[in-house]
């Protein structure tokens, strides 16, 4: 087992920065080509008129999840060296809801605003300045929100760990749910036209 390549010292930090640009390039290319640089498409799901965001998002998650756990099961990737996003239940519920509100108001999220700017949309630049300002605001108010920020910590919780089932059960269940969701979205959209 020799991956993650960086974690196993296959290359240094400077090569890592070059790879960051390469990986980011494909992320940005697929975001823009999927229509996610366009705020009208990005907000479509919230008005039930364009389901591009959930289609792209859940396809991406399930493709990456399948690949990630397949590589891990084949002993080609050491999951212990992959940084897992920690769970802080209430901060991520409240943060997610506020984020969703900001998403609909502004028409973008942090990654898609960059894609929007790349299509020539200057309103995305205003959103980007706002995101930096909001980050600064968080740092300034941190002493007051630190208690809540650190509350309801669940560590590196995963669904398979929480439910005590094999990770393929989780992936199969999520894939089935996504397939059903996509089916109804396609039907809803074709009825619209």
């Amino acid at each position: 087992m020799t991956a993650p390549l960086y974690g196993y010292g296959m290359f240094g930090p400077d090569t890592g920065l070059v790879l960051a640009v390469v990986i980011g390039f494909f992320f940005g290319l697929f975001l823009e080509r999927g229509g996610l640089g366009d705020p009208h498409k990005l907000t479509g799901v919230f008005y039930l008129r364009d389901f591009t965001v959930p289609k792209v998002m859940f396809t991406a998650i399930l493709v990456a999840a399948t690949g990630l756990y397949l590589l891990s099961d084949l002993n080609l990737l050491d999951m212990k060296r992959v940084w897992v996003v920690p769970t802080y239940f209430w901060p991520q519920i409240v943060g997610g809801a506020v984020f969703g509100a900001g998403f609909v108001l502004s028409g973008y999220c942090p990654g898609t605003a960059v894609a929007g700017l790349a299509t020539g949309r200057l309103d995305a630049l205003v959103v980007m300045a706002g995101i930096a300002a909001g980050s600064l605001l968080f740092a300034v108010l941190y002493p007051y929100v630190e208690g809540f920020y650190s509350s309801s910590a669940m560590g590196l919780a995963t669904w398979q760990g929480l439910l005590g089932v094999n990770h393929w059960i989780v992936i199969a269940a999520l894939s089935a749910a996504a397939a059903a969701m996509f089916y109804f979205m396609e039907r809803f959209e074709s009825r619209d036209r």
């Binding site: 960051a20 980011g24 366009d38 498409k41 792209v56 990456a64 943060g95 984020f99 028409g107 973008y108």
Partner: protein, 169 residues
């Protein structure tokens, strides 16, 4: 809304999924975006007022490196800009403009863009990431964080869309 020759959302989603998988395999972490904004804000504040920036506990982690801007996430976001630009230019979609909901005044669009951005920036720090770092990366790891964030995000978005029914309709 302009009609564009976008790719199928499933093809675009699969491409993003493979980019995410590549990040896991090559680096050992996923894609992210919002941290780049916090990093720029921290470095910018330090340039304006080093004393005040140094007094903010939350930014100490961002500013402790010898050259904070030489960070993986900033290079990744630069790549996103380049990749999206290549996509827009090659498909004839690049056009300088100030996009907005139909019929919205420039002043009102500036307000919704800035206010929405501030909410996103604050919420991303509280959640320890955004749609990229928590929803996509955490979601693919089957981490609880990614999925509760996604559900809460859609809930928050639907509430705001229901209140402001004509905003992006």
């Amino acid at each position: 809304m302009e009609k564009r020759n976008f790719w199928s959302p499933y093809i675009a989603g699969a491409g993003i999924g493979l980019a995410l998988l590549a990040a896991f395999y090559v680096m050992g972490w996923g894609l992210a975006a919002s941290r780049a904004y916090a990093l720029v804000a921290a470095v910018g504040l330090k340039g304006v007022s080093p004393g005040y920036a140094g007094s903010l506990d939350y930014f100490s982690g961002y500013l402790k490196a010898a050259s904070p801007l030489k960070d993986w996430i900033l290079f990744e976001v630069f790549g996103v800009l380049a990749g999206a630009l290549a996509g827009a230019v090659s498909s004839g979609g690049f056009k300088p403009r100030f996009d907005r909901p139909a019929g919205m005044s420039t002043g009102r669009r500036l307000t919704t863009a800035a206010a929405g951005g501030i909410l996103i920036g604050f919420a991303s720090r509280l959640s320890r990431g955004c749609t990229s770092g928590v929803a996509l990366s955490g979601g693919a790891q089957l981490a609880v964080s990614g999925w509760i964030f996604v559900i809460a995000m859609f809930a928050g978005g639907f509430v705001v869309a229901a209140v402001f029914r004509r905003l992006w309709s």
